[in-house]
Amino acid sequence: MSEPATNIGAKVAQFPRAAALAEKEPPFIRVEGVTKRFGSFTAVSSVNLEIRKGEIFSLLGGSGCGKTTLLRMLAGFEDPTEGRIFIDGQDMTDLPPYERPVNMMFQSYALFPHMTVEKNVAYGLKHMDMTASQRADRVREMLALVQLSDFSHRKPHQISGGQRQRVALARALAKQPKLLLLDEPLAALDKKLREATQFELMDIQDKTGTTFIVVTHDQEEAMTLSSRLAVMDKGRIMQTGTATEVYEYPNSKLVAGFIGSINFFEATIRDVRDDVATVDAPELGATVEARAIPGLSPGQPITLAIRPEKLTISRSKPEGPNAISGKVRDLAYFGKDSLYRIELPSGRVLSINSVNSRRVGENERVADWEDAVWLSFDPSSAILLKD
């Protein structure tokens, strides 16, 4: 089950990203202006989504952001207050769950405790037009897919959490749904198992070609698993895109802050030339350059955002436009990298992540507590955010 870390990279390379392949096809799943209200509370607010066939699409957000409600509407457990849901061109909005070509893997797995693993996987098949031997074959195939063939006669309480997760997956895939919904599929697993299972999940998706929609609150999980993801907050979709797009080009403070860690500074635009904007950032104690975004004008207030790993720390003043001085306030050594907290002259504290690419001793580090240091960053690494 748990595989050596070295295999993981190879596995990623094995399968082509579905999104790239399906770019030109019409959307397989279309969510049109879907709103869900519970009394006066709006759980999901006019959501539009287009998901292509064979994608692993993640809905990412904190608790109460509406991601699970959206998933339950796709499964048919909740009726949208407004809007329509189409799957493969068919309007699904008014169909009950048992008539949708959609299956769901529940967060609690929801395995039937009184049935064996085999019976659990076979449960959905009895509603299908199949002979008994076809059914048995399908169950065997599914159990082989999730490597549980030896456990077919066990009851759910007689297998481990990771095995239960795979039974749930096999049961949800057995009917060969057009769309598989996964509600926090890895949340109940421990960290090691979660990493291995992530890749297993991608592998299975690649083998079956099923479209996956994954709900998760874990941004790392969303970024590794999915071809594309949508960041949700307060029932709205804030940004949709690939992991890289959302991480490197967030469109709002909220998305930037939710995915990864980041330093924000209040700033004012001084000047815009081509794709470089010059920005006054009093908190940084400097005027810096950043990659411009459309629609900037001098004097405009703006948020400057820099991810901790995009900053470089040095003892002497670096070349280039974006140099800031500060003092090491805190440092945490994690082995592969270190986290510095630098106090700027303005009093602001800023986080820097620095990879420890060289092997050095305790006294040879780049900077130590209370040291005066210089920070620099490439203009293209600085993100400008209007809100």
Binding site: P97, Y98, M104, F106, S108, H114, A172
Partner: protein
């Protein structure tokens, strides 16, 4: 001496003195004193001989060790057999009806909002706040030939059937029907509460999963809810069936005197006939009749569990 070390010493003393064992043993001691011991006395009494003394039985005489005449009489006198059959029949019918009425009610309780649930649970328990005897008397009033309840039913009956079959009233009092009706009414909460406790624990996502996999609501109930509520059904049924089969007050007050019931037989033998050994024999036989099937069930159920555990390891 500091407080913590003193409490630690106190705890140590408690542990050394085996207080934990005593705590665990308390329910067993209770059962031994108030169930096992009286049962042994009743059992012994059932083998004694009736004498015109006080207490009205003695050992020895013609039967120095054991007098099994009373058990022989259980089989020879058809009064006892009829009484057992009536009682078991009534209790079975009442249990089934309690299940039919109680199951939807218990399931309903798990599906309503939390605030409603408390109100409804309260209503289920509320009848216990009045005297059981009073409630049976209330039913006697309702079933009587001149009550509004009887008139209402008679009216409804006459409205349905042709006029030559019309009745002046429906004879309900002193019938087997009355016994079952009042038993169902009285014991319904004992069915609802364990069923509710069982159904309430079932994960609603199991139902959703079954529906997601293509089952319509009735199939979801048949495949998921029903099999998982078997422990609740068994618990509720036992809680109704066992006391209902030995019930004395209901058959005495609303039942027919021509249909002997076991509770009344025991009471009559004991109080009117002053035949304590016979009354004891009837009681012991009833207990065996109820408990032995239960023990067999528990034994096989336990074995099935063991087997499942072994397969797992």
């Amino acid at each position: 001496m500091s407080l913590s070390s003193r409490s630690a010493r106190l705890r140590k003393w408690f542990n050394r003195r085996g207080w934990i064992k005593i705590t665990i043993a308390t329910p067993y001691i209770w059962l031994a004193l108030f169930f096992l011991l009286p049962f042994i006395i009743v059992m012994a009494m059932s083998f004694a001989t009736r004498t015109p003394t006080a207490p009205p039985f003695s050992f020895g005489g013609d039967h120095p060790v054991m007098n099994t005449d009373h058990y022989a009489r259980l089989f020879s006198d058809d009064l006892y057999i009829r009484a057992y059959l009536n009682s078991i029949g009534n209790a079975t019918l009442a249990t089934l009806m309690c299940l039919m009425i109680g199951y939807p009610m218990a399931l309903g309780l798990t599906r309503v909002s939390r605030s409603w649930r408390n109100v409804l649970l309260m209503l289920v328990i509320l009848p216990f706040w009045t005297s059981f005897l009073l409630r049976v008397y209330a039913w006697m009033g309702l079933m009587g030939t001149n009550s509004w309840f009887n008139k209402l039913l008679t009216g409804a009956y006459n409205w349905i059937v042709p006029s030559d079959m019309a009745l002046r009233y429906i004879p309900m009092m002193n019938t087997g029907f009355a016994v079952v009706l009042v038993t169902v009414y009285s014991y319904l909460p004992f069915m609802i509460l364990p069923l509710y406790a069982n159904l309430e624990k079932l994960d609603i996502s199991l139902n959703e999963a079954a529906m997601d996999l293509g089952s319509k609501p009735f199939q979801v109930f048949r495949d998921v809810t029903l099999p998982l509520s078997v422990p609740g059904i068994i618990a509720g049924s036992l809680l109704v069936f066992i006391p209902a089969s030995g019930e004395l007050i209901i058959p005495s007050l609303v039942g027919s005197s021509s249909r002997p019931m076991i509770g009344r037989v025991i009471s009559d033998e004991f109080a009117s006939a002053r035949d304590w050994p016979m009354a004891s024999a009837v009681a012991v036989a009833l207990l065996l009749l109820l408990v032995v099937p239960l023990m067999i069930y528990t034994y096989y159920d336990g074995k099935a569990h063991e087997k499942a555990q072994k397969e797992a390891t």
